[in-house]
Amino acid sequence: MGYFLTQLARLAESTITAIGSHLTIAVGNIFFLGGSTMFCFGAYALAVSQKFGLDPWWAALLSIVFSFFVSFLFVLAYIKLSNDSFAVFTLSSMLAFEALVKSWDDVTGGILGIAGILRPDNLVKLKQLVIFQIILMVILLFIEFVILKTVLGRSLLGMRESRNFVEALGTSTKRTGSVAIIICCVLAAMAGVTGVWRIQFLDASFGSIAMLVQSVTIAILAAKPQVRWLMLSAVFVTFLPEFLRFTPLPSTMIGHLRILIYSVLLIVVLLTISKKLMPQKRFI
């Protein structure tokens, strides 16, 4: 039972993170790769707040507020840098945050991490937490569904087709992209908060590259700007490497094999269905 609950929790966490990646990468064609950094940031903001004696719910709220403000750093980079430079800059933010977490050991516990992170009183059991995560995931999927129907969603879709066209219609692409980035950051932080409540331990390896590759693969595999595709993609990608658990491989190898599977899958997906994500070329 514990195994299935854990898998459901992982599904919820990766889906919540992937909603942001879906909005930015698949819908808006903004290659924001800082989701994993914000996942980790959200978790650390929660853990540090709890360490200073804050109630878990207040700590979660504070973590989300902090993540909102930190997301403006990415917005600044989005406005200042070119698309590809922005992509790699957000990717390397993961390394910067990891270095910061490892160095600032007075607050973050350094390489030893922070242990004994408390769950809220009403989510003490894993089953209660998983139900909360699933409800949160459904609500956020519904919010994405609504966003896709609003001006913001249509502008993001328009940006994928032609930024100049969207600008010509009087919508600021920078503002639209910035909003998508902020949403992505806040959602990733939310996933981080629920993730750390599940594990109850936090160190610099939390989230990391595996989470980034997983969320980007889910977003790109979903391809279409539709919530049901995102959900299907999340289920497929999250449960795909699970067959490894039933093989007689040592546990040290499973982590690397999982990354290998995700990265091969991402390459295959990018080389085969990438054209669905690109603006349609019309020949007259």
């Binding site: 800059f89 990717l91 390397s92 270095a99």
Partner: protein, 293 residues
């Protein structure tokens, strides 16, 4: 003397970054793709050397095997990135390159394990200049790095090959109509980049330990150098590579007393320096403003 030793060590690390930033620049110039897999490529080549040496093949066969591995990895990169470079889908190229890097890293971890490997069981040989010292791999890196930097600066700015690379990224169809083989130019660049990355991988791990994830840190530093120096300026990239290494080393090395900064903050300082330089000059240190008529 202490200051000079810091300067010398920073020069070696800076040259390692330059040596990876140069192929990163070349691939970007030829295909407009940030080839992030170069770090993992370099480390994979270093593992090939380690495999040859521990299998008792002897230096000539091991070096040949290592070179073949570097060329094969270059061709593999070409096979994966060519379609995307042709279609000008640069951001997907970046993601494919990143995933290829992860694949290589995970494969190395599965084959050789994640524990650190050493090429030599004895202490590294050093060269002493009065009270200053430099390891032999450090000295080789310094010399080769300076020679290659000057060589590629001349190649990209003064020779037809450099002009071809720029032309390929601008309009490969137009270049093909002039009977140039754009794919061949990109393949050559990727193979040369892999060989240089392999050299950097070997020299870096000779100086420290060989672990599968070592490539990612150095490729991020090289990328920061490329970004800070300006993606269209090799000269700027070289200057920036030394700056992003030297400033944190000096801050850490010269800080003292209650204001001392520990070594673990180095990477954080690199990002702060990069952020300041990018805010000050977003198009690169040596990038000139162009008037568009």
């Amino acid at each position: 003397m202490f200051f000079l030793q810091i300067l010398l060590n920073s020069l070696v690390v800076g040259t390692q970054v330059v040596l990876l930033a140069v192929p990163l620049y070349l691939v970007y110039a030829a295909s407009k793709i940030y080839h992030l897999a170069l770090g993992a490529t370099g480390i994979s080549v270093a593992y090939a050397l380690y495999f040859g040496l521990t299998s008792g093949w002897g230096w000539p066969i091991t070096i040949l095997f290592t070179l073949i591995c570097a060329i094969v990895l270059g061709l593999l990169s070409f096979a994966l990135l060519e379609k995307l470079a042709k279609k000008k889908e640069h951001l997907f190229g970046l993601l494919v390159s990143f995933s290829l890097g992860l694949c290589l890293e995970a494969s190395m971890a599965l084959m050789f394990g994640t524990d650190g490997k050493f090429f030599l069981s004895t202490p590294l040989p050093t060269i002493n200049f009065s009270e200053l010292y430099l390891t032999v791999p450090g000295a080789i890196t310094l010399v080769v790095g300076i020679v290659l930097s000057i060589l590629f600066l001349l190649l990209t700015t003064q020779t037809p090959w450099g002009r071809e690379i720029k032309a390929v990224s601008e309009n490969s169809y137009l270049l093909s109509s002039l009977s140039f083989n754009a794919s061949l130019v990109r393949a050559t660049v990727l193979v040369v980049a892999s060989v240089i990355a392999g050299f950097v991988g070997i020299m870096t791990t000779f100086n420290s330990t060989l672990v599968p994830g070592a490539g990612f840190n150095i490729v991020v530093l090289a990328f920061i150098a490329l970004l800070v120096g300006g993606v269209h300026s090799l000269k700027g990239t070289i200057v920036a590579a030394y700056l992003v290494v030297l400033i944190p080393e000096l801050v850490v090395g010269l800080s003292s007393g209650s204001y001392s900064v520990s070594l673990s903050w180095k990477m954080v300082i690199v990002f702060i320096v990069a952020a300041i330089l990018l805010t000050w000059k977003p198009n690169g240190l040596l990038e000139r403003r162009e008037r568009v008529e």
